[in-house]
């Protein structure tokens, strides 16, 4: 691991050089009065001071619609893999934490090479949060800062960035930053201060328990009235699923060409809040009630997925679902805190 400092001007040159390189560069940019990840065409468009992006970088890690294989007739199949080398620039710590979780989920048990292959070709330049968003609560979830997964981590310390290269990929990128100097003690301290501040500030909604307590909290509250109270207003629109960096459920469909023989099998984002997520043939729906679907999401974040990935909570506190939910009921902290109120923590 090497830690350097580079001035913001010089950093811009680095981004320019990156854009000129032969890989795809995706970075955070403004769209209207919000921010999005998009292909970066000029260094000036990069906005590392952003608060939060509308969609998380999941859209690159697990694209909304991705071909899995092509078929020719009923029984002839061939894998499709469309990934390309890519640099993802400006990933916030909570989103990095989400990607780390997904890496685990897609590599464990059955190894998903469509996902993993793309990840391996991806270089992630993370960056610490400079402007807290209106609903972020990463501090409550322990994801205000992150210490793994990225190839490079940037921290804005005023007129310069502290740059930490964490992998070989990251170190190779340092070659595009000839002007970077080893970070001084003072710079490192400034970075420490940013981390400390974020661990305090990124907390617009305060979870009243340690995240590690959530599985236990949920264990006891399956029939809690809050599920029905909240879900009463739920539109089953899956907005909370769509924007969430840790949601990864998908649907699989075949699309056939006009020869009615060849075509592509692809997967596309799905959402457990959608009415027919658990419907099988004969229209039997295993999760028919809004409340049951609403509960399922928060159980997945707080209990089920943690059970698969060594206890890590699958809500990273980005706050996107809070903003995205039209009915204003999706706030996980709000729900978990209500469970706390009526639960004996013993």
């Amino acid at each position: 691991m090497s830690v350097n400092t580079i001035s913001k001007d010089r950093f811009k040159q680095f981004v320019e050089a990156l854009i000129q390189s032969d890989q795809r560069v995706v970075g955070v940019q403004a769209r209207g009065d919000r921010f999005v990840f998009d292909d970066l065409k000029a260094a000036d468009a990069l906005r590392l001071d952003y608060d939060v992006t509308i969609l998380s970088p999941r859209k690159y890690v697990l694209p909304p619609k991705e071909p899995l294989l092509k078929f020719d007739g009923r029984a002839s199949y061939e894998s499709l893999q469309e990934s390309e080398p890519m640099v993802l620039l400006g990933v916030h710590p909570y989103d990095m934490a989400a990607i780390n979780q997904m890496d685990l989920l897609f590599s464990q048990d059955e190894y998903d090479n469509h996902y993993m292959c793309r990840r391996k070709k991806m270089t992630i330049i993370a960056c610490d949060v400079a402007t807290p968003s209106e609903n972020v609560f990463a501090a409550s979830m322990g994801t205000a800062t992150v210490d793994s997964g990225y190839d490079m981590l940037l921290t804005d310390i005023g007129d310069a960035y502290v740059v930490e290269a964490a992998t070989d990929n990251g170190k190779a990128l340092m070659n595009l930053m000839p002007d970077a100097r080893p970070a001084s003690e003072a710079d490192i301290e400034k970075r420490q201060a940013v981390w400390k501040k974020n661990e305090h500030d990124l907390n617009k909604h305060m979870l009243e328990c340690k995240p590690s307590f959530l599985p236990k909290l949920l264990e006891k509250n399956y029939d809690h009235p809050v599920w029905e109270e909240k879900a009463r207003l739920c539109y089953s629109c899956g907005s909370c699923n769509q924007v969430c960096p840790t949601c990864y459920c998908f649907d699989v469909q075949d699309e056939v060409n006009w020869d009615l023989k060849t075509g592509v099998r692809y997967r596309a984002w799905d959402g457990c809040l959608l009415q027919d997520f658990a419907t099988v043939a004969g229209d039997h729906n295993f999760r028919k009630d809004r409340a049951a679907r609403f509960r399922h999401r928060l159980y997945r974040k707080g209990k089920y997925v943690p059970g698969k990935i060594g206890g890590q909570i699958a809500c990273v506190g980005c706050g996107r679902c809070i903003t995205a939910c039209t009915a204003k009921i999706a706030n996980p902290v709000d729900v978990y805190n209500q469970l706390m109120e009526r639960t004996d923590i013993g």
Binding site: Y77, S83, N113, D254, K261, G263, R267, F277, F286
Partner: protein, 279 residues
Amino acid sequence: MCECCVQNNKDIYLPAPATITKRRMLNGTELYLHLESDSGKEMEYTPGQFVEVSLGGIGEAPISISSSPTQKGLELVIRNVGTLTRAIHKLQVGDKLGVRGPYGSTYPVEQAKGKDLVFICGGIGLVPQRSFIRYVLDHRSEYGKVTVLIGTKCYDMRLFREEIAMWQERKDMTVMETIDEAHDCWDGNVGVVTTLIPKIESDLPKSLVMVCGPPVMYKFVLMALAEVDVPQDSIYVNLERRMKCGVGKCGHCQINQHYVCQDGPVFRFSDLANVPEAI
């Protein structure tokens, strides 16, 4: 395909071609298929597991393996309920389809050795159970008493009639069949499958009981088993959910914390105690 995929050499979503070598309708809606893999390699599986069956352009569906690994090829039984299953019903001997798997948990083939076994099957639930039953029959000496209860909605829907008749001939197993609705050609038991439970001769609390059937059946069978003191950890249920990937990623088959495709489809009932969505 790119390099790193080639390195890993396995795409978990990639079906392998197989050819239909036998085909017959078991009743008006259920089709029996015998498949052989085009690669010539036998699939290695254990009773209770399932495969994902594919028709390019139409889609994929999870289907239980009905054959036993002690025999050659793969046997499936497919009920015509929707798009893919309807398309499969149109296939003929010699036609090909895609298969990947096997997936999911298995019946307790090893732990069951030496024990009395009871199979309670409702309708198409006989299909996966048959895999284990045939396995047991092929290793008959290793297991205790074998009792098979089969309940079918109506006379015409009964599956594997000749095979059941052969089982009934055997001295080393007990097979009891019932149909829900009386029928002119039927002089056997009439009533739901639970009515057969009192007739079981094995020492039920010491037996392993395997249950598979439509969602509504479980509640009643499990209640009946509780009444006769079968401990929950001696009961195995075989559950079904919507499924897309079959490999624990897509999220559709989740029952609370469990993935049917990985933790199931065969569950020990005691493991489902805190799983309210299961039954």
